[in-house]
């Protein structure tokens, strides 16, 4: 059971380039999220999805796009990369559940992105 898998682990982009961060989970989780973590800070939500075909914006969506064509995959697209997008990006997922104690998020290992 791999959990939440993110690729790549590291990437350097030039200003104006585009790229896609990949995220896949094999736990059949309905909910998936993209967060970014700037140095010394907490995580901020970029986009989230409550199921295949359904996505919505989080706190800091500008400069990013997502799609959710399958339950397993939730790629994050950066268009026209800017230095302000230098950050560590975490993908997370959780199962569909009611008010239970098992509502924790499962996080991927992160993608370190530098835009120079």
């Amino acid at each position: 059971n791999a959990g939440v898998t993110q690729t790549p682990k590291f990437r350097i982009l030039k200003i104006g380039q585009s790229m896609t961060l990949q995220c896949a989970q094999d736990m059949n989780h309905n909910y998936m999220y993209w967060y970014r973590q700037d140095p010394g800070m907490g995580l901020k939500l970029i986009y989230y999805s409550v199921g295949a075909g359904i996505t919505d914006k989080g706190e800091v969506p500008n400069g990013y796009n997502v799609s959710r064509s399958t339950t397993e995959d939730f790629p994050l697209r950066l268009e026209l990369a800017a230095p302000s997008q230098t950050s560590v990006y975490f993908c997370a997922s959780r199962p569909l559940s009611g008010l239970t104690t098992n509502e924790k998020l499962f996080f991927g290992s992160g993608t370190q992105l530098s835009v120079l």
């Binding site: 907490g42 939500l45 509502e103």
Partner: protein
């Protein structure tokens, strides 16, 4: 706007000592989470607190929630070096079913022998 503030942001303590990390949040929420992050690593879920007065304990860590005061605490008992990490609290916002979280800034704990 929901804000989540932790204090202290940095904590250096001796092994064997007790200490508490505080997490204040600005608007009503029905669930609060604590996570641990080791340097360069991902986040590990510690506790999910779902109701007023909820208390969860695991090992030397105990978390509690007071929804009326909008305050959660993470208490460390008899700290050991292995607890050195950054601890985040996070509060659910919007519809609780979506699981959207606002994170605090994190508290970096350094436990010295």
């Amino acid at each position: 706007e929901l804000k989540v503030e932790q204090n202290p942001l940095f904590l250096s303590m001796q092994e064997g000592k007790n200490y508490t990390i505080y997490c204040n949040y600005s608007t009503t929420s029905d669930r609060l989470y604590w996570y641990r992050q080791d340097p360069g690593k991902s986040l590990e879920s510690l506790f999910v607190l779902l109701s007023n007065g909820a208390v969860k304990q695991e090992g030397r860590l105990m978390a509690s929630l007071d929804t009326k005061a909008r305050l959660s605490t993470l208490h460390i008992t008899a700290a050991v070096h292995d607890l050195s990490a950054t601890y985040f609290c996070a509060v659910c916002y919007g519809s609780s079913n979506t699981g959207k979280l606002i994170f605090g800034q994190g508290t970096t704990l350094q436990v010295k022998p």
